[in-house]
């Protein structure tokens, strides 16, 4: 490769803001149309209402975009924030960034929570949040140098195209002597040519002396990044300590950090062992509970899943510290060294694979009928290097494979490739095609919602069947859990603001296994409380895993074990110690509720955010086909007889599929009613005037959007 060429086209020096109680109270805007670099103060009332993280991102985006803004319009803004608690070394999961943009897949705001050091480095460089808008004419690198207090925009030539090499190259370029000072955000060629491009956020792994990365995967923010011709955003900062946030109560912060970290150190080895196996322990657990997606979510288990779970990956993962944030004791970001891909541009070379996590194993493994740990590693590697979201890739390919097996598409459409379940080489070839923007892969890269239109219009495929089996809602592909037996989790997916991602609510076991929420009201309460609480992690710059994936030994004896109230108390203490705002557990919910409802109204502003958009494909609710029904016949027959009181003695399987569908779809609509009521929304899923006033988000522009939608 030729020598990389970064030509400086704009540079400013700035006076670094003093960080007070977790905040710099400044935002940075980079407009690529005019190469403007603008530093703005953040008003106190905005801070108090939106808290930080996703809240700040959404507020800046709201002001940046119009109702008519499309994902590839210049005014679409990519916003990145870490929140007031982000950047606390040693606090488990204390270094997250939250990224937002208008999504190419959904047309609405999307948010993604990601590890790596970028968010904290950016904050300690002087900015709570950055907003990048406009479109560059040439490939561009943005450099935020918190050590020299300079911001630069470069025109870039001869940079590597993939994230794997690009992150490494830029890390060394910007601080050869101390690469630990650098964190790089990159996309890749797949982000350029698909609608589900991800962003890779890097950090320097001092033990292995190499760049590592985590992904802001969901919703195609990488695609927006590539469309703006951004090759990378780089942040550089020096040493960080627990004093970097200038906390209001340093001793209190030290105490709560030490307490939480110590508990995880002691209990993780006894519980999920995430510091050894990451989230791959979920593979056998989901399989045993019939919740592991197999063959495009048709089934929930498969005997061969034993070869793609923790027992295999524990031995493959490279040993060493794998925290994506300084001193995180969960340390679940495992990887595999010296992996040699058997396809693609890295074929035969040795690479380091960052992953896989559960979602990648399930989405790109069992869901595709690929029960081979090595192939999953290769898919993981190329998705990251190309900047592709492994969840959307896996779920989209599962849809394609089921369409292929049902002859909705044939080799005439797939460039001659057999795309039956289990076709691992052809699955990889599709991914390479996505990166090149060529062939059938270019169609798959548009995502399921657009594929359904193309398959119906151009290939004559049955739209009704594709609506049933295409695992997308709001345009976003489902993450990797089977929800057929959990009505609450159907709502967890279908009522999620950005689309079916499990970060708002994961209620499958509470609902399906423990029967902890038997009534609609119970489910609605859970679908209020859990999304509100989980939203708070995104406001503050935190990871949710330390909350409830490792829990106190006495948690089971508490009145509400699912909430892990002891940890919520610690989080309230953490917030109080950093920000000086005396905070209790109930305050956490109130903070989140304001931002949550604001995001719902943001969806409304963009033409979504109503009941009709909270639908899910029937595959998420019940068995679409006779094959599916008969695979779990005893379960479904019993439900028809005992739960719904039907006489099924003369029914064919096809009749039973139809009868069950009618009942389950009715239940889902009743669930919507109950949840909307609990959240203070009307029957159409819109927050009421009373709700926005109660939450203090009754800004004139918010009221205007409500008025346009008949809410006065």
């Amino acid at each position: 490769m030729s020598q990389i060429n970064l030509k400086e086209i704009k540079a400013i020096s700035y006076k670094k803001a003093t960080i007070k109680k977790g905040y710099t109270d400044q935002s940075l805007r980079v407009n690529l149309d005019a190469n403007n670099i603008i530093i703005n103060p953040i008003e106190e009332k905005i801070k108090n209402k939106f808290i930080g993280g996703k809240g700040y991102d959404l507020w800046l985006m709201w002001n940046a975009v119009k109702a008519s803004t499309k994902w590839n319009d210049p005014e679409n803004a990519i916003c990145i924030s870490s929140g007031p608690l982000g950047g606390t070394p040693g606090y488990p999961g204390g270094g997250k960034s939250i990224v937002t943009a208008i999504s190419p897949l959904t047309g609405a705001p999307i948010d993604s929570n990601v590890g790596g050091y970028f968010g904290p480095y950016k904050k300690f460089s002087g900015f709570d949040v950055i907003q990048v808008d406009g479109k560059a004419k040439e490939d561009t690198v943005i450099f935020i140098d918190g050590i020299e207090s300079k911001i630069k925009i470069f025109e870039a030539k001869n940079l590597p195209s993939d994230s794997y090499e690009l992150s490494d190259t830029l890390t060394r370029y910007f601080d050869e002597d101390k690469p630990v000072n650098v964190s790089v955000v990159t996309a890749g060629p797949g982000a350029e040519h698909t609608f589900f491009g991800c962003l890779n956020f890097s950090w320097w792994d001092a033990g292995r002396k190499r760049v590592r990365y985590k992904q802001a995967g969901r919703g195609g923010i990488g695609t927006v990044f590539a469309d703006k011709k951004i090759k990378a955003i780089v942040a550089r900062y020096g040493a960080i300590s627990m004093k970097s946030n200038n906390p209001a109560d340093f001793d209190g912060l030290k105490l709560v950090t030490k307490t939480h970290a110590k508990e995880i150190n002691e209990l993780d080895p006894k519980q999920n062992r995430m510091s050894l196996v990451g989230t791959t322990h979920l593979v056998p657990i989901m399989n045993d509970h019939d919740c592991l997606p197999v063959h495009n979510f048709k089934f929930g288990s498969h005997p061969e899943s034993r070869v793609i779970g923790e027992e295999v990956y524990e031995h493959i993962f490279d040993k060493g510290f794998d925290g994506c944030w300084k001193g995180c004791t969960v340390a679940c970001s495992h990887g595999v060294k010296d992996f040699s891909p058997f396809t693609g541009p890295y074929r035969g070379k040795k690479v380091f694979v960052d992953g896989p996590e559960y979602e990648t194993v399930a989405g790109c493994g069992s869901n595709l009928g690929i029960f081979d740990a090595q192939t999953i590693l290769e898919i993981n590697f190329y998705c990251d290097a190309y900047g592709l979201d492994t969840i959307s890739v896996g779920t989209s390919l599962g849809f394609v494979m089921e369409c292929f097996e049902n002859h909705l598409i044939t080799t005439d459409h797939t460039d001659g490739m057999d795309l039956s379940f289990g076709s691992r080489f052809n699955a990889l070839e599709i991914i390479h095609q996505m990166a090149r923007g060529e062939g059938f892969g270019a169609i798959v890269g548009k995502g399921i919602r657009q594929m359904k239109q193309i398959f119906a219009k151009d290939f004559g495929a049955d739209m009704a069947f594709m609506q049933d089996i295409g695992m997308e809602s709001k345009g976003l592909e489902f993450s990797e859990y089977i929800t057929k037996e959990s009505l609450a989790q159907q709502g967890g997916y279908g009522l999620a603001l950005k689309g079916p991602q499990h970060d708002e609510a994961w209620l499958i076991f509470l609902d399906m296994v423990h029967n902890f929420m038997p009534t609609f009201e119970d489910k609605a309460e859970a679908l209020h409380w859990f999304p509100m609480f989980r939203t708070w992690f995104g406001l503050c710059g935190l990871c949710k895993l330390p909350w409830n994936d490792i829990v106190p030994e006495d948690n089971k004896n508490t009145p509400e074990p699912a909430k892990v109230m002891k940890h919520i108390g610690w989080y309230a203490d953490f917030f109080s110690a950093v920000t000086g705002r005396k905070t209790g557990p109930d305050d956490i919910i109130t903070m989140s509720e304001a931002v949550y409802n604001f995001q719902r109204i943001f969806n409304l502003k963009m033409g979504f955010g109503t009941r009709e958009h909270d639908t899910v494909p029937y595959r998420a609710v019940g068995p679409v086909t006779v094959e599916e029904y008969e695979s779990r016949q005893k379960r479904y027959d019993e439900q028809l007889k005992e739960k719904y009181g039907l006489d099924i003695s003369t029914m064919t399987s096809k009749d039973k599929v139809a009868a069950l569908r009618q009942k389950r779809e009715e239940q889902y609509e009743l669930l919507k009613d109950a949840v909307y009521e609990r959240r203070g929304w009307n029957k159409n899923g819109i927050p009421t005037i009373a709700t926005v006033k109660r939450l203090g988000i009754d800004f004139p522009e918010v009221m205007e959007v409500l008025k346009k939608n008949g809410i006065e």
Partner: protein, 65 residues
């Protein structure tokens, strides 16, 4: 004897995970356990025999991704 969450418990022949849980308090949220390091999920509790000298950890509620 077997060890359950660090405590010694007398072992009984043909004991299963399901029968063990029946003897314990506050385990309604236990959907998964580790039996000698291997994961065992609730659908298999009734068929999983506990050998003598086993080490068992009851995992907390499964919280998803």
């Amino acid at each position: 004897m077997i060890e359950v969450d660090g405590k010694q418990v007398p072992w009984s022949e043909n004991w299963t995970m399901a029968s063990l849980l029946e003897t314990l308090d506050n385990v309604e949220f236990c959907a998964v356990a580790r039996l000698n390091g291997r994961l065992v999920s609730s659908p298999k509790f009734a068929e999983t025999i506990i050998p003598d000298n086993s080490k068992i950890q009851l995992l907390p509620l499964v919280a998803g991704g």
